[in-house]
Symmetry: D3
């Protein structure tokens, strides 16, 4: 099922297969940059994962009912809850590029911190779900 998969490290553009280059080109065109980040160069070791992941990201992160910046804030929130340092660093940078101000960053962090705190209080106090939330079906 897999084509050639590289053993270790990152695949630079000049060393990439045509299929990998095609994805790199699309990433750079979509993001209006002239290089791709380490995340893509590393998962490019598996061209199938590279293509599927980029395809999903491109579809999901495009502005829709939520704008591109809001989506980056959500991405940072999940990455922070998961303690994923790479994704915190890269998506915080992306959010800044898309207009996140220092004030917005500060409030983002405060909400993330509070959510983590009450997540544990709700669990530790064994809070029962309110009937209204159950019946609302959401």
């Amino acid at each position: 099922m897999q084509e050639s998969v590289a053993t270790v490290g990152m695949i630079e553009y000049q060393d990439a297969s045509p299929e990998v280059r095609e994805v790199y080109d699309d990433i750079m065109a979509t993001r209006k940059t002239d290089s791709v980040t380490n995340f893509w160069k590393t998962i490019a070791r598996d061209p199938i994962t590279l293509r599927r992941t980029w395809g999903s990201i491109k579809e999901i992160m495009a502005p829709g009912a939520l704008d591109a910046l809001t989506k980056e804030l959500i991405y940072v929130a999940v990455s922070t809850a998961n303690q994923c340092h790479y994704c915190i660093a890269s998506h915080t940078a992306s959010a800044r590029k898309k207009g996140m101000t220092d004030e917005m960053f500060a409030e983002l962090m405060a909400v993330i911190g509070m959510a983590n705190e009450t997540n544990s209080l709700a669990a530790g106090y064994q809070v029962e779900i309110d009937e209204q939330f159950k019946s609302s079906g959401c």
Copy 2:
């Protein structure tokens, strides 16, 4: 340091001490509702935690550089990453009250799912942080 702390269950308004009622009154006034949810009625077993947690939530969730709906989306994102079912249910309901449409919910879920996926890919592939993210200082 603690005043009276109730053993189990939830503290209903009619059984609450004046200090707890004061917090309940502020929650209902701020949220324009005539009852408080199970989360508050449960942590009210410890009036100090009740007061501090509500004080923080009120300060943090008020509209600022980020609007109130965006803050709820971030709250849902963290709660979902943490698998906190109570907070997912209650903050999804709050987000709907503040204007989250079905389309926005669908996109919120998609971003959360994608972030969780790439968080694990970044970890599993042991991706190194790009120099540009380190030097950006964010």
Copy 3:
């Protein structure tokens, strides 16, 4: 390597093999109770895991440099951070049996909540580890 492993559900004392009964007997004697909880009756489907897990728990949870109650508080803290509802319920009950008062429970929850909050702030703000913590070697 495995002996007989039961397919589903819980193994009651009367249905248990001699090896499983031996562990049940030791649990009940150690804990001064006349029954074992669902956790043990469920993992008893694999007698090897039952024996090893009980052996480890018995060794680890015995009073030592830390007393038995402190160990239960730590157990609740980890279980809450992990959103493990079974272990939160069972170890909160164990902590109460070992003397946890309502005031202690309230403070336990407050510390857990705060730790979860600052864990995410430290990650999201990408705080660098202080030299003094690195050199201390702990």
Copy 4:
């Protein structure tokens, strides 16, 4: 809602606003040290989060029904479950300052490890919560 928020890096005492200095002074006085750690200097980029977080920590970590060392052990337990390296390093150091011996550290680690193991066994074996834990209301 926010006052001036700094873009990146840490806020040193000499560069701090009067409001930030007031918090730093209180941290140093409370902890009997002559400097503040990177955590505080980093979140000081948002003076509101700095003030609220310090206020909560000061209230929560003061000795009460639980002594100060027990609270640090709980803090390390949560931080370890969450894989928060900064908080593991800083609160392990704090625990040592407050009297944690090597033996206590060893037992702390053993309990944390065991709790993480049984948290996953309880989930994976889909253990049902015992009636006695449900009815106990805790």
Copy 5:
């Protein structure tokens, strides 16, 4: 960007749009069953997420360098570490259908439990990564 997105609950086959039915049909054909599980019926509220998620799952879970059962074991392992009860239940059932015996299940649980334990020991003891693991590039 989105087409019609349903508000709440699950989308049954008879109520589904042609696009959703096409995915349901492919799920049932691929899995050789005559119904789809709640997961699919729920995310079908967003046809785009339904289509993309199914497309990815179908590609990823097909036998390749790893056989289908091994992939299910890995799925259960991740879901257990994340305390995702729905995915634990559904993928444990899938694993059994694909040949997981009671002995295999018992060993799967034991490895998951051990990994969770040593994950926390490695973090809490602040173990440094060995040079050999760094240089190996994996």
Copy 6:
């Protein structure tokens, strides 16, 4: 209960007590290597944890109903879900030693990523567990 416990750092073979050396010798004999990794040298600060952890690992990771490579893949999956960088690095290396090819690694990562994604979708969409999974008792 504890014997001598070392304060910081790693215990090298030449500095180890006879009890610690005995464990080191067994690790090296079992793994057919002439050194032990940092994980063991660090937790050796507590000889009791060293002995118990090695005993459990040796029992659990031995080939049984699941072969040794499959067990390593499961170990990597849990470690990745938990963002434990040490265990990701060391068990990825172990898996390679036991025969994991690049293709297998690529598929392992893809399954881990997908499981993390659907774990969060199942939680965020609040998917109800199917009756068939409840009744199956697994």
